[in-house]
Symmetry: C2
Subunit: 319 residues, 2 copies
C-alpha cells in the first residue's frame, strides 16, 4: 500500500497533470476546454504491464521520405496522408514486477510545444519520476532522448540508470565526430551531450543484443543510427518488439518497407534491417510497438496482398 | 475561469478517479498496478469539442451474429476475432460551446463489472455530472441507457434533460408491450423503466429527424429498435455521424453489412438502414463514431475492394 503522505502527493500530481491538460468544460455557454487529453494506455503482457505514455507529436515534411518519388506519392495517397506528416511520439513504460523501465523519453520541449508531455502522462498514470529504475533509449536522437533530461539540465529520473547501446554513445558522444559534422548537423549532438552531462556515470552503455533485465533484451537494429537498438519485451509467451525508429511514416513504410528517411545514418542498413524485423514480427506473431505509431502505438503486422505489410493496432486494452 | 473552491473539488474528483483506475506502481519488486487506465479522448470538430468516454466493454457470443454462417465465419476469421467477441462501450460528450451534451451513457454496473466507468472517465476529463445539460440516447437498450441512472435509482445527471426518440419511449415504456414479451425478454425493459422513473418529466421524447440543439440532429435509424436514432453532429464543415447500434462487430459488419445481430428488432430494417448509413458516410466523407467501435470510437469508412467497407480509426487527436 502507498503511505498516506505519498498518496496525497500523488493525488496532487495527478490532479495537476490531468487538469492542466483537460481544463474543466463549464456548463452552458462556458468556454471550451481547449486542449486534448493526456495519453495513457496500460496493458498486460504476460505478467508484465506495459504503459504507453504519449509525449506529443512532431511534424515531418514529405521530403524526409527517401526512395522512388512515384512509389512514395502512391503510398501517401493510398494512406490519405496529410502534409506535413503528423507523427506521434510515444514512450513505453514496462513494469516487470521487479523493475520499472522507461523505454525512450520523448522530446521534452526541445522540439517545440507539441511534444514534452511525458512527465504529465507519467503523473496521470499514478507514478513518480523517482520510481523509474531504468531508462533505455533506442538511439540518441532528440525526440527519444531529450525527454530524459529536465529543462535546467539535471537528470529527470533521479534514481534511474540510463542505458544506451555503446555504438550510439561512441558516435553521438564523440567530439571528433561532432567536429567533422556539417555545420547544419551539429544541433543533432545536443541531446547526447545534455544526457551524458545529466547522467554522468549513471549512463551505462551496453552491447547490442544484451539482456538488460530479465524479460527485456536489446535487438540490434543498426542503420537508423550506428547503435540503434530495438527491444524485445517477453513475459511467458507474450512478446512485444519495440521497433524504435525502424518506422517513421506507417502508411508509407509498412506498405513499402524499402522507403527510408533522411535521418537514417545508413539508408541501406536501415532498409535491410526494417525488412528483417518486420518479417520477424510477422513470422513470430509478435506484438510490435513504436515511438512513431499512432498512440497507443502497439499492434500487429500482417503481410499485405501485393507485398509489404499492414499494421493493425490493438483495441484499447481493458482488464 | 473556475472559482478556486470549484477547482479544488474538481481536482479531488480527478485525483480520485485517476488513482482509482491507475493505482501507483511502486518501485522495485512492488506490486503491479493491476487495472488499465480510464479512456478519455478529446478532439475538435469545427468549433465543437467531442470527448469520448470509455464506459468499458461487453462480451458477445458468436451466436449474436445473424446471416449466412459461412459468410460470418469467413469475416470472423479474416478479422481474427477472438471468442467471446469483446466490444467496447463508448459514450460521446459534445460541447457545442453553449450546451454540454452526453450521447449514450454506457451500462453502469447493470451489465456486470466490465462496464460502468463513464462517471470516472467524466471526472478524469475535468467535468462534473451537474455540468451536463442534455443527455441523448440512441435507443433504450441497457448498455446505452443504464448509465444515465445512479445505482439507487436517481437520475445521474441532476441538471440534464433526457431525450429519446418517441417511438422508442412508446415501445420500451409500454406495459402492454412488456406484458406481451416472452418471459426471458422481460429483463430488457428494466433500463427503460428505471430511466423513466429517474427522469420523470425531464424525459422529453423527440420525433426522429429533429434538430435537438443547433449542430446536433437526430438521424432516423429505425430497425435495431423501433425508435433507434443516430445523431449528426455538425460544426461548420466538420461532421460526425454517431451511428448508435448500426454496428456491433466491426470486422464482420463493415466487410459484410448484410449481417445482422439477434438484438435487432427488425433484421430487414436494420440491415437496410446500415447499408444506407454506411453509404452516406462514405459519399459525404463523414467522420463516424459508434458505441461499439474500439475506443476512442471515431474514424472514417471507406469502400472495400470486393464489396463492403473498411473502417479507419482516426489517429489520437492532439491540439
Amino acid at each position: 500500500m502507498t503511505p498516506p503522505t505519498r498518496r496525497k502527493a500523488l493525488h496532487a500530481l495527478v490532479a495537476t497533470a490531468a487538469t492542466a491538460a483537460l481544463a474543466p468544460v463549464a456548463r452552458a455557454a462556458a468556454p471550451l476546454a481547449g486542449g486534448s487529453g493526456l495519453g495513457v494506455h496500460r496493458m498486460k503482457l504476460g505478467t508484465f504491464e506495459v504503459t504507453t505514455l504519449l509525449d506529443g507529436f512532431i511534424e515531418l515534411p514529405q521530403a524526409v521520405l527517401q526512395g522512388n518519388p512515384e512509389v512514395i506519392q502512391r503510398a501517401l495517397d493510398a494512406g490519405r496522408v496529410i502534409m506535413p506528416i503528423r507523427t506521434a511520439v510515444n514512450c513505453f513504460l514496462v513494469n516487470t514486477g521487479s523493475k520499472l523501465v522507461m523505454i525512450d523519453c520523448g522530446g521534452a520541449k526541445m522540439l517545440g510545444p507539441t511534444a514534452g508531455r511525458m512527465p504529465q502522462a507519467l503523473a496521470a498514470a499514478g507514478l513518480e519520476l523517482g520510481q523509474v529504475d531504468e531508462v533505455y533509449i533506442t538511439h540518441m536522437h532528440g525526440d527519444h532522448l531529450h525527454g530524459a533530461v529536465a529543462p535546467e539540465g539535471a537528470k529527470l529520473f533521479p534514481n534511474a540508470v540510463l542505458r544506451i547501446a555503446k555504438a550510439d554513445v561512441d558516435y553521438w558522444g564523440s567530439p571528433a565526430v561532432e567536429a567533422a559534422a556539417p555545420e547544419n548537423q551539429k544541433g543533432r549532438f545536443v541531446a547526447a551531450k545534455r544526457a551524458m552531462a545529466a547522467y554522468g556515470d549513471r549512463l551505462q552503455p551496453f552491447e547490442l543484443g544484451a539482456e538488460l533485465v530479465p524479460g527485456i533484451r536489446s535487438v540490434p537494429a543498426v542503420g537508423h543510427t550506428p547503435g540503434h537498438s530495438c527491444y524485445l519485451v517477453s513475459s511467458g509467451n507474450a512478446r512485444l518488439l519495440l521497433l524504435g525508429d525502424t518506422m517513421h511514416v506507417g502508411p508509407v513504410q509498412f506498405a513499402r518497407p524499402e522507403i527510408t528517411v533522411m535521418f537514417d545514418f545508413s539508408q541501406d542498413q536501415a532498409r535491410a534491417r526494417r525488412q528483417e524485423l518486420f518479417e520477424m514480427a510477422v513470422k513470430d506473431d509478435l506484438l510490435v510497438g513504436a515511438v512513431h505509431l499512432p498512440f497507443p502505438g502497439i499492434g500487429k503486422l500482417r503481410t499485405r496482398d501485393g507485398g509489404g505489410y499492414t499494421y493493425e493496432p490493438i483495441a484499447w486494452q481493458m482488464y
